[in-house]
Amino acid sequence: MTHAVATATRLPRLPIGQRAFWLIAPALVLIGVFLVLPYLNIVVMSLREPAVGAPYGAGLTIGNYTRILGDGYFLGVLADTLLLGFTTTVICLLLGYPVAYHLARTTSRYQSLLYVLVLSPLLVGVVVRSFGWLILLSGNGVVNRALLDLGLLETGLQLINNRLGVTIALVHVFLPFMILPLIGVIQSIDPVLETAGQSLGASRLMVFWRLVLPLSWPGIQAGSILVFVLTLSAYVTPVMLGGAQMKTMSVLVVQNLIDNFQWPTGAALALILSACGLVAVAVYARLTSLLMKGVQ
């Protein structure tokens, strides 16, 4: 294997000015200037002393981290945020998988229309979309009015300014990020495998459980990571629909940076969230790759 690769890649060496890696140079510069440098800046900022009248003081300290990690309120918000990411991902998976399976297998002439419907949450800006949910879910909103007028309820439901409202709105917008990778992977599963499974005595449920689901893992993995990461970093939706009750880390970061002018604390919060997200994704990827042994 390594031998084959070694011989196959033996190309004549070009002068340095003509090598292919220059093609990625513009992208590298972009990432360096607008991503890596700001990140380093945030790392440095998170290690600065808090100050009054200026973004931060001069000295270096790890006090910001120790204060946050020792503060029950911050830890509670962190746990809430991670839990929100988890529930949103699971709900997106449960709702998205059947849709993805149908879209991957359908021969309907409305297939492209169905694709547009799947993508529709992304066609509306985040603020407008959140306002839409406010109109639907608020105390005097469409949903509550309908339920009250029909006499199904005596008092309105609390649908916003809590975890439920944020979860509903986030599932709505992130569903396409789950469905699209799943469609790709399910399409690559040969339907004749399901036929073969049935001919060997497997019921439809067993065909799904033993064949289709295991072969879908790459799509489930990709979709879940996308939705989880996007949920962790979501800002507008939690701010508009979460109220005071449901605060996420991103909301807290902005609060510290803009409202409280506590740049070192905000920077440290942002980095802690990033680190937690990274660890969660790494653990998840490791676990799922064990399940995917043999797939692809």
Binding site: T195, L200, R210, M292, G294
Partner: protein, 381 residues
């Protein structure tokens, strides 16, 4: 061993009939090929037997028990697919165990049966490989083993050799046939490859346009086609229109009979009673025709025999006839030479001979039709 019976099977797709009223019954342990061009309904028939399609009308019976409406997973039928359909995320061992696990067989027994069947297909060392780590032929054998390990009542194969290269295909024909005989399982084999069907089958069912055109042993299909369509589809045939020579017509079923054609009188075999003057086709295989003399004829050495001359006396029941012709084309085929010749009555025939009998293009020659070379196919009036 199981007897499969299909009764009046009919299946339409969007109003178009893929299979018209098909009747077929196998013997126990028999190997039957469904042979036909693409779109003739052979795969649809197979899918009806497997349970992936339900026929519009008709019944599928296994040992007299009707399974027509049963879902595939309850039929106990092993199937091998054209692209093998091995489960890519499972090792060879787990692929084979799948069907047994579905039957809730205990682990020890599974292991034992998997090992036994893998031994039969000579893949015992491949137990822990994934399908993508196997060659095409090996994947084929795993697919076969996976279908057999559940000890099904019936084995279905859907063009299993279509994706293999020529050398491997010849090997696998023999391998599958030997294995089938050893296991003794009743087998239905779908193919469009005549040679494959001939080599492997006990009987061949020729399907044309969703209808059973002929069912019989390979020799019957080749030597005694029942219709012009079968004669055209199986191998190559020269088909000549003619009428039964009234002087010699008889009600006897069998033997040879003279047929009057545009190129002269040809004696041909038949196995049904024929009426004097009955319109018939005469089918002659290219390799059943030879050139007179048995030596290489020069273009200038034209055959001297008169058209339709009887060589072997006047015994009309078994006659060899000579027919003058012009060789229009001669193609080199490797193992043989194929000539396109023109006979009297503007009849064009394909003649296949050994190299020694080759006649150059433009040369004149005489073809010899032996008493066994032609076969009568009654023409619909």
């Amino acid at each position: 061993m199981t007897r499969l019976v299909l009764e009046g099977l009919r299946k339409t797709f969007n109003g178009v009939a893929a299979v018209h009223h098909l009747d077929l019954a196998t013997s126990e342990g028999e190997f039957i090929s469904l042979l036909g061009p693409s779109g003739c309904g052979k795969t649809t028939t197979l899918r009806c037997v497997a349970g992936f399609e339900y026929p519009d009308t008709g019944r599928v019976l296994l040992d007299g028990e009707e399974v027509t409406g049963q879902p595939p997973e309850r039929r106990d039928i092993g199937m091998v697919f054209q692209n093998y359909a091995l489960f890519p995320h499972l090792t060879v061992q787990r692929n084979l165990a799948f069907g047994l696990e579905m039957r809730r067989i205990d682990k020890v027994a599974i292991r034992r049966r998997v090992d036994a069947v893998l031994g039969m297909v000579q893949l015992s060392s491949m137990l822990d490989r994934y399908p993508r780590q196997l060659s095409g032929g090996q994947q084929q054998r795993v697919a076969l083993a996976r279908a057999l390990v559940i000890e099904p009542r019936l084995l279905l194969l859907d063009e299993p050799l279509a994706n293999l290269d020529a050398v491997l295909r010849d090997e696998m024909r023999v391998f599958i046939r030997e294995l089938q005989k050893r296991v003794g399982i009743t087998t239905l084999y779908v193919t469009h490859d005549q040679a494959e069907a001939m080599v492997m089958s006990d009987r061949i069912a020729v399907l044309l346009d969703g209808k059973l055109a002929q069912l019989g042993p390979p020799e019957d299909i080749y030597l005694r086609p029942r219709s012009v369509e079968v004669a055209r589809f199986i191998g190559r045939s020269n088909l000549i229109e003619g009428t039964v020579d009234s002087a010699h017509a008889s009600g006897i079923a069998g033997g040879t009979i003279p047929v009057r054609t545009a190129m002269g009188v040809v004696s041909a075999r038949h196995d049904r009673p024929l009426l004097p003057g009955e319109p018939v086709h005469v089918a002659i295989r290219p390799e059943a025709i030879g050139f007179a003399g048995g030596h290489r004829e020069q273009p200038q050495a034209a055959g001297s025999g008169a058209a339709g001359e009887r060589v072997a006396g006047m015994d009309a029941q078994a006659t060899t006839s000579l027919h003058e012709c012009t060789v229009n084309r001669a193609y080199f085929l490797g193992a043989a030479v194929e000539h396109v010749v023109q006979c009297r009555g503007d009849i064009s025939l394909v003649v296949q001979t050994a190299h020694a009998q080759r006649v150059a293009e433009g040369g004149r020659a005489a073809i010899v039709l032996g008493p066994d070379s032609a076969w009568v196919i009654p023409r619909a009036p």
